[in-house]
Symmetry: D3
Subunit: 135 residues, 6 copies
């Protein structure tokens, strides 16, 4: 019986969409107001969903407290109240679009899970825009 266990979390970050190797003009034409050199920001809402077998002893797929702690260490401590472009090494040379942030988060959480567990990450940049990545 494979069940998916999901946990919501959030972090508040500044970011800017642009490529260092493009002109300001080209960045503006592709990224528009998201390329504000002074940055803008979001309350990111994250749903991390782990799929696996129910442990017949405990009735858990995994203890949600463990998932909560992994999210805290890998995502909240690393991204919350940070400037994604300047403060987070993964985005030094990677444009922090919500797609790329989701892929980075997926990699970080997945590395902490037992290999028989699957992971899906849903990341809301705003209540109206979000992405889903399953690896």
């Amino acid at each position: 019986m494979r069940v998916t266990v999901s946990r919501k979390a959030h972090f508040n970050s500044a970011h800017r969409l642009y490529r260092k190797d493009w002109s300001m003009e080209k960045n503006n034409s592709v990224f528009g107001k998201c390329n504000n050199p002074n940055y803008h920001g979001h309350n990111y809402e994250l749903i991390a969903s782990v799929t696996g077998e129910i442990d017949v002893e405990t009735g858990f797929v995994l203890d949600v407290k463990i998932l909560k702690n992994i999210i805290k260490e890998e995502v909240e401590d690393a991204f919350d109240h940070k400037n994604l472009n300047l403060d987070v090494p993964e985005f030094e040379n990677l444009n922090p679009t919500v797609e790329n942030i989701a892929v980075v988060i997926h990699k970080k959480i997945k590395s902490r899970l037992a290999s028989n567990l699957d992971l899906e990450v849903v990341l809301y940049e705003t209540p109206r825009n979000f992405v889903t990545y399953s690896g």
Copy 2:
């Protein structure tokens, strides 16, 4: 790396569930109060989700502004503040159940997307009732 990009939108419409080729009695027995001849209405909430590869240059699957515009032109301009039965050609001979509306929306948005992109449509008729269609 295939990622899904989702965008929420909404439209407010009147509709009535019934078949012209059925008697009022039969329509009432199948569709109940949804067959009010004077119509009722809903705030439809739409989530359009597009799945494709991340463009390594931009970090986008597709620019969400493009998706927002497609939804505006294909769905909001066509359905918002309209009577689905009387004002929307697709429902002239098609009962506007939330299932059928979702299929029509899927067809309209899909026709505007590159062929390598997949589309899923979630349509809320009320906060408690919704449907999902992936083509």
Copy 3:
């Protein structure tokens, strides 16, 4: 100790904003697309809030089941799956703006409450537009 007890409810209706005594042109200039002669509709969300003293015996201001039943009889049974302009007598000669609907609902519920209870009505026409009326 005066406490306010609130109950949420909802109804789905069609309506049209216009005045019978105005020309189509004037109605269009004031009410825009809300004056679609074929109607449009909404999922109205209602919060009815009753303020009074806590009964020291029961610990209730009023039993929320009573409030739920009053809302059902006065609002849901009267408005749900109806065309407000055509099916609801209160709007035969009253434009069903969300302001006017809230005032009508307030009057209907207030008439069912003990006179020492105050009532506030919040009515959402969409998740983004709502009104508040306290009598």
Copy 4:
């Protein structure tokens, strides 16, 4: 055209996570404060999603009123305002983790659906923790 029809519902229950065959000490170390012998409780929010072909006559996959009634009889009447450990036979010897509750609900609703319909259950224990089970 396979479409998924989803319906939300809710129930409010007390429960306690523990195994009768474990010591209090072991139960505490695994289940923490969820093992309070006096119980705690939740507002469970349920989304039951049924997938099948659209009936070309009615435009329904299934009438959502039917799904609403099945949920009422199988879930709300059985679980609402109950103590899951003491009042619900399915959990007499099964730890009522949200995973196990979802599996029990899936089994109960599935038994009431035509065999050509698929079912997915999403169960929120809190707004931040939820599980998904598809059988």
Copy 5:
């Protein structure tokens, strides 16, 4: 410039509505299924709102971290994963209706605030039922 600062929090508890000095019959007739002797439970959502002058130096009415900590110590640590009737001294002889719980929470938080600050407590027992108390 008086501004109100609000903070949301939550706790999950079991409870039962009844009076020890009433017969089971009378408790059932007044409190219905809320009088289940085995208890039921809720995810309570709390909004604590503090009103005062903006400090011109900091731009804060009060640091929301302080309010968050007061809520944690006075409410979450005391009520979360507890049985309100059995584990919380304030309800030993007080029926834990949502009205009474709000009054108790108001008293506990208010005692920790400077006397020039006003407090309003909103307490959701379910997403559809909530109360408001301002002292």
Copy 6:
């Protein structure tokens, strides 16, 4: 009959809490991680509520499209995808706490309303923290 008409809007901004005339040490001790020199950010959600008499001709307190446009011009165009500290003149010498942002927004919208209309501003910095200001 005084009724309150409310409209929701949103903007996404970067900001940093600090005083230029304080040392980094003092700013850190008061504002903690909100004083990140590289900024962080939020999806601010705004509810602007205007109270006045219902116009008996139109049934409106004010046309919500007018309120929507005022919010767009005064708030969204000025704050969205901006760095509040660097890009918004009002915060050149004013710490952009959510309290101060709400006061600034109130002043800007109020200046556009007829003098017989009252205004309340609710501003969410996160889904868990928000402020209310009525002038």
